[in-house]
């Protein structure tokens, strides 16, 4: 799963700690703009995040999150416009319900809910974006690489997945 990553590291020629890979699904109008604002303001962030631009968080099929985590992403971040401020009026309200439900579902397939987070960042909130990325990256580093669905889990660990907030 991490072949490409290792290969790249050897190409650049140095030994370094394996990078964690986080996939970000950002709505085009608010959070993608917020990430741009953070860039324009040179707000330093960890490099683990890979952003996929979607028109609206309403476009988010919860399956994208599940598939990302199964394919081997170590964390998934979904971010959109603040509720009531959606460019398409209501998309983020649908997203909020779907993401909230997804959070409850993840433990059933043995995935730590902490690997998934959704948040609201507007196009002017570059600083907030920096904070969100930094905190979430730290959290995923703390959890370590995602073993995917193949990990054999003892009953205690499996149960603990349901106790996270």
């Amino acid at each position: 799963m991490n072949k490409k990553r290792d290969m790249m590291i050897s190409e650049t020629g140095t030994q370094r700690e394996k990078e964690i890979k986080i996939i970000g699904f950002l709505c085009n109008w608010c959070s993608y703009g917020g990430a741009d604002t953070a860039g324009v303001c040179r707000f330093k962030q960890p490099t683990d995040l890979r952003i996929i631009r979607i028109p609206c968080t309403g476009r988010m099929d919860p399956l994208f999150v599940v598939k990302s985590l199964i394919y081997g992403a170590d964390g998934v971040l979904v971010s959109g416009c603040h509720p009531k401020d959606c460019h398409y009026a209501v998309g983020n309200l649908y997203a909020r319900r779907r993401m909230e439900l997804l959070k409850r579902f993840l433990p059933f397939i043995g995935i730590d809910t902490n690997r998934f987070r959704y948040t609201w960042v507007s196009a002017s909130e570059g600083q907030l974006w920096q904070q969100v990325v930094t905190e979430f990256s730290e959290e995923i580093h703390r959890l370590g690489p995602n073993a995917g669905l193949n990990e054999k889990m003892d009953a205690e660990t499996a149960l603990s997945l349901f106790n996270t907030k």
Binding site: T12, E19, G33, A38, G72, A89, G91, E125
Partner: protein, 652 residues
């Protein structure tokens, strides 16, 4: 597919922290990539030329550019690939500047991240299909929200250009804050003399319909075709009959009504016309203080009205206007001076706001233009002006400079010295900010010609002593404590976002910042556009600015509307949803969720019903795509397969 990849160095912006050459080399390993290179400035004319040449020479069918954010140059590059004969949607942009090189300095990590982003773009591009726009007609009417100077300017410029204009104003009269001012800096022009004729023009233009005392209820639709619902609030006076004679205001017995136009100095009657030059000059009954509407007895105004215009049973009315573009010019409110408890604003009658002082100076104000104290009507001998009350102070949540206070303090002090040559004026300031044509000269005149005392420092406390006020603070240039016995203290209150600005932004689907100022599309290059196509900004609603800048922005917004309306049709974005009829199970969920009503039933020849997307109505949000159980609806250019291809590229 034959794909070409172009990595932009953006001078040193990207190249400093990303090894663009390595990224280009790596790109050649990705599937279908037959050409990859890096270039100094890909967006430049020679850079675009290189893309065009490479497309032709290598028979490319799709292009990836890794550069800045697509919000910046996606249209540029789409045009470039189109010029070389490709469909403009056979292009993807990877953002390796705002999201990579500018947010971390680790060259190695950045390079790996840039490679990943390029890989994702390539995988997405492999599934792109050529798309073609369709055309919809534009409704060439414009809505202007707000009748202050910025809105008036925008409305006049649109009207002069032959457009139909709908103007909505929250108060009973247009004119906004400028109508309350006595004079304007730096020329000491009489404010109502330069604004008045423009207000009259608005009322007399045949192609401007003015809805005063009205607010925006809801906005639907999109650029070229908005549908706006407007709430015409009940005035209890039939404005078609009312002549504005003012007979009713003479006879109204409820004389203790808050005088909003005069900023609460003095009081007014329940039925009221705000000021003599009001446009439209029509009376309104304040339902909260009207004796008949609160206690059921009086009806004096009805008896004296010669036009029989009083309607006590009037209710709010909702009307609908169809427009093609919207100019937002909703202005600002003044900072609440009571937040600074140590200044005593609201507790001491002789501590007033700058806008209240403006009303005192005005000949149409409560004291007829005589400078007197609100408490006892005496002429002041010492006046202290305090700058930055609610500006440049993070502790009250207003870290920004309001931009106009330094100038209006100088103006008010100069007028004061003109009216009362024996009155001493003191200005307590943090810094003097006077960038602008003839602005600094104006401040110098205030100091040198008019002998106004400028004291650098901060006032800590204001307290009453006998019938005067002691202003206590520090003079930081002299390094001494400052105690001034003042008769009147004017707080230069800062500007803040207009009440209800956030709610209006949500209706218009435009962004605002943490203070409620509306966000422009680009801080430098698109200062009057918003991120919602067809909605433009003018005046202080976008951020603090003075009258010349507001007028300039009003004209700029009008110019943008004229540009939009110079065509008869608008090209729609073809990145819309599409139904695969063979997969559709006719559940109707997409029809239910679509916020725009863009999906409808279609009857096939065999009588079965399937969902159908109206491409000109669809806005491309993809909500239907995420909702569709069998995934029959796919958002073109952002299909499930494409998103998962990007996911795969990261995880591979």
């Amino acid at each position: 597919m034959r794909i070409g990849v172009f990595i932009c160095k953006c001078g040193t912006n990207i190249a400093n922290t990303v090894d663009t050459e390595a990224v280009a080399r790596k790109a050649l390993e990705y599937p279908d990539v037959v050409y990859a290179t890096d270039y100094m400035y890909t967006c430049s004319e020679p850079g675009q030329e290189e893309i065009r040449e490479a497309i032709i020479k290598n028979r490319l069918q799709g292009v990836v550019v890794a550069a800045c954010t697509p919000h910046m140059h996606e249209p540029t590059f789409r045009r470039a690939v189109e010029k070389a004969g490709l469909n403009r949607y056979m292009f993807e942009q990877a953002n390796i500047r705002e999201h990579v090189s500018w947010v971390n300095k680790d060259r190695e990590s950045n390079t790996i991240k840039a490679m990943d982003l390029v890989h994702m773009a390539v995988e997405k591009l492999r599934l792109n299909q050529p798309l073609f726009s369709s055309k919809v007609p534009i409704n060439k009417r414009v809505l202007v929200i707000g009748g202050g100077i910025a809105g008036i300017q925008a409305a006049m410029d649109c009207s002069d250009g032959g457009l139909d204009v709908v103007m909505v104003e929250r108060e009973t009269t247009i004119g906004g804050k400028m109508a309350k001012l006595d004079k304007t800096f730096p020329t000491i022009d009489c404010s109502s003399c330069i604004l008045g004729p423009k207000m009259v023009d608005i009322s007399q233009k045949e192609n401007i319909s003015l809805h005063a005392y009205s607010e925006i209820e809801s906005v639907s639709g999109y650029i070229g075709n908005f549908e706006v619902k407007i709430r015409k609030k009940a005035t209890y006076v039939d404005w078609n009959a009312c002549t504005g004679c003012g007979e009713c205001t003479q006879k109204c017995p409820s004389k203790k009504t808050y005088d909003k136009f005069n900023e609460g100095l003095g009081s007014t009657t329940a039925i009221n016309i705000p000021f003599p030059q009001a446009i439209p000059k029509r009376a309104r009954i304040n339902a909260e203080s009207c004796l008949y509407l609160t206690k059921g007895k009086c009806k004096k105004c009805e008896k004296v009205c010669p036009a029989d215009a009083i309607r006590f049973d009037m209710e709010d009315e909702i009307i609908t206007e169809d427009v093609g573009a919207i100019v937002v010019a909703t202005g600002y409110d003044m900072f609440d001076y009571s937040v600074y408890g140590e200044y005593g604003g609201g507790r001491y009658p002789d501590v007033i706001t700058s806008l209240q002082y403006e009303r005192i100076l005005s000949a149409s104000g409560p004291y007829g233009g005589h400078i007197v104290r609100p408490s006892d009507g005496k002429e002041p001998r010492n006046i202290v002006f305090l700058s930055c009350v609610g500006s440049r102070d993070a502790s009250v949540g207003r870290p920004y400079c309001s931009g106009v206070c330094c100038m209006y303090i100088a103006k008010q002090a100069i007028i004061t010295r003109d009216h009362l040559p024996d009155c001493n004026c003191y200005v307590s300031y943090m810094d003097i900010r006077s960038p602008g044509k003839n602005y600094d000269e104006f401040i110098r005149r205030a100091q040198e010609e008019y002998g106004i005392n400028y004291i650098r420092g901060r006032v800590g406390k204001i307290y009453p002593k006998d019938d005067r006020l002691i202003v206590q603070g520090v003079d930081t240039l002299m390094g001494v404590q400052m105690d001034i016995e003042a008769d009147l203290v004017v707080l230069a209150t800062g500007l803040e976002a207009s009440e209800g600005a956030r709610e209006l932004a949500e209706k218009l689907r435009i962004s605002y910042d943490q203070y409620g100022w509306y966000m422009e599309s680009h801080p430098k290059l698109r200062p009057v556009e918003t991120n919602t196509a067809g909605v433009y900004l003018a005046g202080v609603c976008q951020g603090p600015k003075d009258i010349p800048a507001s007028v300039a922005q009003g004209s700029a917004a009008a110019a943008k509307v004229q540009i939009l309306f110079s065509r008869d049709t608008i090209e729609t974005d073809p990145q819309v949803a599409l139904v695969n009829e063979r997969v559709c199970i006719s559940c109707g969920k997409c029809i239910e969720v679509c916020p725009f009503g863009a999906i409808q039933w279609k009857t096939l020849r065999d009588g079965s019903q399937k969902a159908e997307v109206l491409p000109t109505v669809c806005q491309g949000c993809g909500l239907c795509n995420a909702t569709c159980p069998p995934k029959a609806v796919q958002l073109q250019h952002c299909t499930d397969d494409q998103i998962l291809a990007e996911v795969n590229a990261v995880c591979e």
